[in-house]
């Protein structure tokens, strides 16, 4: 891929989104922590409870905290109505604010309890009211300590905000997750550099404010504060400035095929004059929910995934019946529109190295059930949680010695290195052919069909231009074309960017 400088320059949008998300989360954290700290400084019980709660939050992994807000907000819709966003900015903001709470709260409470009692008594003695004492004495004396807490919170928040990519909020995590997916380390490095750079600059500026407050040099304090505000304003301008509000948002789950197809769709729309935006790295359930609620406009999904995970079905009809039922179900439950099949299938299947399969005479999944008990099965983190896996396991009575989770990329390496003997793989994956893998037959038809289909959000489906622009894609991509495109971004050398891969794919299918 192109050199790191150009990638960094292209991250302006992500950086702006990252800055705004982090700034909003820290601001909210401050707004909650400071009143709590004042209350806590007057009541030891409150201090114990709030600090305990904040510490507890801190023990929850940031990724889990972000994910938890999806069901929480979903249930809150009962109170606030269907308009409440469950993905993107709001859940990311709430989770990160909770995370920012602890350092600010702890420093503020410590600062308050460490105030010289003689000075506080004098403040009362000269006749200060509660608010005068807070404003004229307690706040200025605590300010440097509180600022130190805010500084810690800011660095944490900027780091953790990269994870908000997974819940559909653009951030500097986008290049990191995209690069991790395709072993494109330059992309990962660019994302890391940008977020680390942002954290360092923020730390330096807030450190200057802290120093200014401690040494009571107003110039220093306000100068650094001004620089912070200018940064936030610039981010605001980038985000909302150019009047690009009417962007079409295309979602992509966290694997290469999705990234490429999103670009393919995006490029077609751009030639039709649409402005587009990508929301990459979404979890499977999150992505479907996002298109159904209009948080994103377009998504490529897979029939079997919707069938088992969203509709909760365990029967397995033929592919046309399944598609028709899905289209009807989507239209009825959310108004989401199924535009059509792309033409290839990306099924789940159990794959082994050809040699191993040949040598051990593993032809179908039944052979695995009979003779594979000593083997290790690998899968992506989602795989073992999905109902399809349960269905396959039950249908064949599968038992393995061990079960291991890998990110999709590392899964193939694990198979090569022998850390896994069989993996839950995707049939359209370019590495199937490249790594000389075979899929085991599924005579019981325990895995459903996974035809790739284009989903349009209720709003997008009413846009005639989008429908016209995307209709040529229906039925246009066979599995060989998709595998080639996937391999072109997944392979070790000579990697293409997602944009390039999408352009090549378009050429190959004659669009």
């Amino acid at each position: 891929m192109s050199d790191i400088g150009t990638i960094l320059l292209g991250l302006g949008d992500k950086l702006a989104a990252h800055v705004l998300l982090s700034a909003a989360a820290i601001a909210l954290g401050i707004a909650v922590a400071l009143p709590l700290a004042i209350w806590a400084s007057r009541s030891p019980a409150v201090a114990r409870a709030t600090l305990g709660f904040a510490s507890l939050v801190q023990t929850i992994p940031a990724l889990a905290l972000l994910a938890l807000f999806f069901p929480i907000l979903l249930s809150l819709r009962a109170v606030f109505g269907e308009g409440l966003p469950t993905l993107g900015f709001l859940p990311a903001l709430l989770a990160l604010s909770l995370y920012a709470l602890l350092p600010i709260l702890r420093n503020a409470v410590t600062a308050q309890t460490n105030l010289d009692p003689g000075v506080i008594e004098a403040a009362d003695g000269v006749g200060m009211t509660f608010w005068q004492r807070l404003r004229l004495v307690e706040a200025p004396l605590s300010a440097p300590y509180i600022m130190a807490g805010i500084r810690t919170a800011a660095v944490w928040t900027i780091g953790a905000a990269t994870l908000s990519t997974t819940i559909g909020q653009p951030s500097l995590g986008d290049p990191i997750f995209a690069g991790l997916q395709t072993q494109n380390w330059v992309l990962v490095l660019a994302g890391c550099l940008a977020s680390a750079g942002l954290a360092l600059v923020t730390d330096a500026l807030l450190g200057t404010i802290e120093k200014g407050l401690a040494s009571r040099r107003r110039r220093l304090t306000f100068g650094a504060l001004g620089a912070v505000l200018i940064g936030i304003l610039a981010a605001l301008f980038v985000q909302f400035g150019g009047g690009k509000d009417e962007r079409i948002v295309i979602g992509a789950k966290g694997f290469s095929e999705q990234y490429i197809l999103a670009r393919l769709i995006g490029q077609r729309l751009e030639t039709e004059g649409y402005a587009v935006d990508y929301r990459d790295g979404l979890g499977s359930a999150v992505a479907h929910r996002a298109v159904a609620t209009g948080a994103i406009d377009i998504l490529v999904d897979y029939t079997g995934t919707i069938w088992t995970n969203e509709m909760g079905r365990s029967d397995n009809p033929d592919r046309d019946t399944m598609l028709a039922e899905i289209a009807e179900w989507e239209a009825r439950t959310s108004g989401t529109h199924v535009l059509g099949r792309l033409g290839f299938e990306n099924a789940y299947g159990l794959a082994m190295q050809r040699e191993v399969a040949h040598f051990g005479m593993f032809n179908d999944i039944g052979d695995l059930a009979a003779r594979g008990q000593a083997m290790t099965i690998g899968g992506d983190p989602e795989f073992f949680e999905r109902p399809e896996w349960e269905a396959v396991r039950n249908a064949y009575g599968l038992r393995f010695a061990a079960q291991r989770n890998f990110s999709p990329t590392f899964m193939y390496n694990a198979l090569k290195s022998g850390e896994a003997d069989v993996i839950g793989a995707y049939t359209s994956d370019g590495r199937i052919a490249a790594d000389d893998l075979v899929f085991l037959d599924d005579p019981e038809r325990a895995f459903p069909n996974y035809d790739a289909i284009i989903l349009l959000s209720p709003e997008a489906s009413e846009d005639e231009g989008i429908v016209v622009a995307l209709s040529p894609l229906v039925g246009a991509i066979d599995v060989a074309a998709m595998r080639e495109a996937n391999l072109s971004v997944d392979r070790g050398e000579d990697k293409l960017t997602f944009e390039e891969a999408a352009r090549r794919l378009a050429e190959r299918i004659g669009l």
Partner: protein, 255 residues
């Protein structure tokens, strides 16, 4: 009511108990307008606690304090404290404010700006260089800080001046000069003053009336002349004996 001849400060059966100690155990006392009262007693006898009940830095366990005939519990807290200048034993200057800002804090709280000229006056009053106004408290000596504490207490032009060991950290010469100056100021401004001190000689020389405190009680309440004449009981006489013996020895040395 203001013209009533009654005492300005009146303490009725005042008690303050902590878990383990009774800091003040039943003090009744009246202080007339214009009096200069010294409060003397051993460390831990309850002097500071008693003084703080007057501007409600300490809420008594029982008993009442009247200011100008009105129970202080009925007065708005900030207003009460604006009428009482208080010099803290721990000084309590605001470390993030300049000396001038510290002195001007009382007027500032009620929305008035103390003129620079007034700040200089107050500094001169406590025998400090007016140029010191621009300094921060941590750039001053202990004794200088105590004097700023006195200046701050006077800035509001209070009716009552409560001083808790205001001269503890001063050298004897400055201490003597400042004691006299405060006494003169007391006359000039028509103050009613209470000064806590360890030093019986200082109390005898400055005050109109000396209270002796022991274990939370007032054990003697006499004018200086009476104390020197042997009144006030054993504890008070024990305290008076120290400076008297010193004076006698000095007189002998000089002979």
């Amino acid at each position: 009511m203001t013209e009533a001849p009654g005492p300005l400060l009146e303490l009725c059966d005042l008690r303050k108990s902590y878990e383990t100690t009774d800091a003040v155990s039943g003090v009744s006392l009246a202080i007339a307008r214009g009096e200069f009262v010294a409060l003397v007693g051993a460390s831990g006898s309850g002097k500071s606690t008693l003084l703080k009940t007057v501007n409600r830095l300490v809420e008594p366990t029982s008993g009442t304090v009247r200011f100008d005939g009105e129970p202080i519990a009925n007065l708005p807290l900030a207003a009460l404290r604006h009428r009482i200048g208080y010099v803290f034993q721990s000084i309590g200057l605001f470390p993030h404010m300049t000396v001038s800002e510290n002195i001007a804090i009382g007027p500032r709280l009620v929305g008035e700006k103390l003129a620079a000229r007034r700040v200089e006056e107050l500094l001169e009053l406590v025998d400090l260089d007016p140029a010191m106004g621009a300094r921060m408290p941590d750039e001053l000596s202990g004794g200088q800080r105590q004097r700023i504490g006195v200046a701050r207490a006077l800035a509001n032009e209070p009716q009552v001046l409560l001083m808790d060991e205001p001269f503890g950290a001063l050298d004897p010469v400055t201490r003597d000069a400042l004691g006299n100056r405060v006494r003169a100021l007391h006359e000039k401004l028509g103050l009613t003053s209470v000064m806590v001190t360890h030093d019986m000689a200082e109390a005898l020389l400055l005050a109109d009336r000396v209270l002796v405190m022991e274990d939370g009680e007032i054990v003697a309440d006499e004018v200086p002349r009476a104390l020197l004449g042997g009144a006030g009981g054993a504890i008070a006489q024990g305290l008076v004996a120290v400076p008297r013996a010193q004076a006698n020895r000095l007189a002998e040395l000089a002979r």
